[in-house]
């Protein structure tokens, strides 16, 4: 392929490394608890908060919700912050663009919005079930896990990317096209 060389991902990545270090240091000093970057537990807490509004008893009796705590916490605000930061950055860089079906998907499945919605929904269910079983996502296991040289991070990342490569190639690679 012919992706133009750019320092951009390396610089943004290195700065993310500095942000991760600063986050752990500052949270240790201020909160007495190290906050490593992560995102997927927020989906558990958010799902619990939504369920709570319909069936509070059910949530209160669920062992998993109890172990994670159904509340707005550091990480949930962190995920909200990602939304705000990315929004402002995309506006300033003129990168903001409405998109209902991404190009690679369109090339393979056409421009049907309901089909893309169904795929993203189904993929989301499977992915989050997997992330919770694995104990984290590419942020918690990937970034934070590998920074700490944790075995679980390497195992999970191998699963994430290995299965990702396999499924993506089965799903999106059309006979001889694009090569």
């Amino acid at each position: 392929m012919d992706t133009q060389f750019s320092w951009r991902p390396y610089i943004a990545g290195a700065l993310t490394g500095l942000l991760a270090i600063a986050s752990v240091w500052i949270s240790t000093e201020v909160l007495d608890s190290p906050k490593y970057l992560g995102a997927s537990t927020t989906f558990v807490r958010a799902a619990g908060l939504i369920e709570q509004s319909v069936a509070p008893e059910h949530v209160a009796n669920n062992a998993y919700y109890e172990s994670k705590g159904v509340k707005v916490d550091w990480q949930m605000m962190f995920v909200v912050g990602i939304l705000g930061g990315a929004f402002v950055s995309s506006l300033f860089g003129r990168q903001f663009q409405f998109e209902s079906v991404p190009p690679i998907w369109k090339e393979r499945f056409g421009s049907s919005v309901p089909l893309r919605a169904g795929g993203a929904l189904l993929g989301g269910v499977v992915a989050m079930f997997g992330a919770r079983l694995a104990g984290g996502c590419p942020s918690g296991h990937g970034l934070s896990g590998l920074m700490q040289l944790s075995i679980s991070g390497y195992l999970a990342m191998a699963g994430f990317f290995g299965a990702g490569v396999l499924v993506a190639n089965l799903v999106y690679r059309t006979k001889g096209a694009s090569e």
Binding site: Y10, G13, L19, A20, V24, A46, G84, G130
Partner: protein, 176 residues
Amino acid sequence: MNWELILGLGTGILFGVLLQQGRVLRFEKQVGAMLFRDMTIFKFMLSAIIVGMVGVNLLVGLGVISLKVKGTLIAANLIGGVLFGAGWAIMGFCPGTSAGAVAEGRWHAIWAILGMLGGAALYAEVYPMLTDNVLALGNLGKITLPEMLGVSPWLLIPILSAGFIGMFYVFEKNSI
């Protein structure tokens, strides 16, 4: 808002800016890596990991911070990892980037977010059935690579960093 929430929000805003500036939020970038067409997300991630590995281990060595390692449960890490990877390929976002993708105007990431909320709720229901089997299989505890090998992290950090930089070289040589 207390300090915990303010710090979370501030860290998230900066992370959102860096994810967006690194151009890693899009479906094309995530699926592009799985198709070996565009390795931007790995350039970003591995750069962060090289810097983070050095800084985190330095501060741990100085006694300023402590590690917070996730438990190694071989079966759960691998099976969960594979399920995540399969779903990731179809939705084209990961949990952290999905929020940023919506913010960039890629509003179809909302379906992914709704799906992920459903997946989290489903896992909460199934969890009690998994604790005695999958989640108990191959439990090595909260262990790191240097601990397992019985070596200093400072022996592994240069080796891993060199490996990651070697990957950057391969990516750039192939213009991916």
